[in-house]
Symmetry: C2
DNA sequence: TTGACAAGCGGACTTGAGTCCGCTAATATC
DNA sequence: GATATTAGCGGACTCAAGTCCGCTTGTCAA
């Protein structure tokens, strides 16, 4: 029911992984380490690509050969955390389904978890998303992609299970529920409006619960 | 009930409008005309500030003195259209309220109109929003500001009128309903997903109508 | 081992946003 | 009408993202 999305596989753009030259792999790891350190020291936004290259002792061209943009570099740094998050979410789904939890409840929980994930990784996510939600060919929208797949799968399960009000555009609703988690909007709500994470999560849960309420 | 938001006044940052030097005003108009022409010819994204300055026959410094960023320039170009849109929306609200239309219906209509407005002015809105939803001090988030004021006023009216399900976080819902109209998300839905404007509008209407449905 | 060649590499270069600061000139006062 | 004051002006400059291209080197096949 829930498609397992292997981020790593998708990231390597599918099939033919030829010979990865040792120096290339070493540079990749070196760059990631260096970037992580610099980001931790000065903040993601304040560190420019040239600085990373210099600190890693490689040329700018090399840096850009490994990572086509700052967004891709940040995505690579997020990769393992995303996989973990995804695995935990899937495990929770299985357990909750076994326990007979409604799918809408699972969706609410997932969105809440996503709120905290988004908050925790906001700076990296900002770079990833500014690189482009559009540009569907780059891996940059992978986070949104799997979030959407998850949400819409849950919605479809809920519909199949008779939990949903009739006549809803499930795909649209999936996108709409995720919209407030787009980083610019999320940050605006968090920093500009001062909403707490709890309030944001509760708001999303509220919307989800409306999906289950049938017309009187 | 509906706060009238005067964009122009807000734009001029309030009170003391000293002497506007004639050359400054002339340059402002000249720049706006020039930008409008270049944008029409080559597209907003493809025209850079230096080109606008050169085409207008002014220095880059002058351009930036009139408009602190490309976003502000684009906002200025949108100004009259936004005022018109706003005035029409208010007129429609008055008429609909007189005709006894529920406020939630008015909200649906407003969001639908906003979908078409967003589509029509997507390129300019993109520049405005990339300039910053955050940075609450700049006028750049004026569009979002008045959209939010309008939506939340309608929601409050609906609540006062007993049209709303109980226990909703009205402010949060206002933001959430507007989120899918943030330009990056809107474009992704329109261009990436291929949703028609009608589908987007219908999706938003669907969400709005859920707000009115009470638990069984 | 060697040699061909694709992959990898580095850094100069381009592009565009936005800043700075010394010169100029519109306005208000005398 | 002269002059001081202060906004306005222009374009050189900075900063960061991302591109280009000629040199280098790891890898495979002979």
């Amino acid at each position: 029911m829930m498609p397992r999305i292997d981020l790593t596989t998708l990231d390597d753009s599918g099939a033919a992984e030829r010979h990865v030259r040792a120096d290339a792999a070493a540079n990749r790891a070196l760059i990631l380490q260096t970037a992580e350190r610099l980001f931790a020291e000065h903040g993601v936004a304040a560190v420019c690509m040239a600085t990373i290259a210099e600190a890693a002792g490689v040329g700018k061209g090399t840096l850009y050969r490994r990572f086509a943009s700052k967004g891709e570099l940040c995505l690579a740094l997020l990769d393992s955390q995303m996989s973990t998050f995804q695995a935990e979410a899937l495990a929770r789904f299985r357990q909750q389904t076994r326990a007979g939890q409604p799918y809408l409840r699972q969706l609410g929980d997932f969105l809440e978890a996503l709120v905290f994930f988004t908050d925790k990784h906001a700076p990296l996510l900002a770079e990833v998303q500014h690189g482009g939600l559009l540009r569907t060919e780059t891996p940059l929208n992978l986070p949104h992609f799997w979030q959407f797949m998850t949400v819409s799968a849950l919605l479809r399960s809920a519909a199949r299970n008779g939990e949903l009000a009739p006549g809803l555009d499930i795909d649209y609703i999936g996108e709409a529920l995720l919209s407030p988690l787009q980083i610019d909007i999320f940050r605006f709500q968090r920093d500009g409006r001062g909403y707490t994470l709890e309030r944001i999560a509760a708001g999303l849960r509220g919307l989800v619960s409306l999906l289950g309420e049938h017309p009187t």
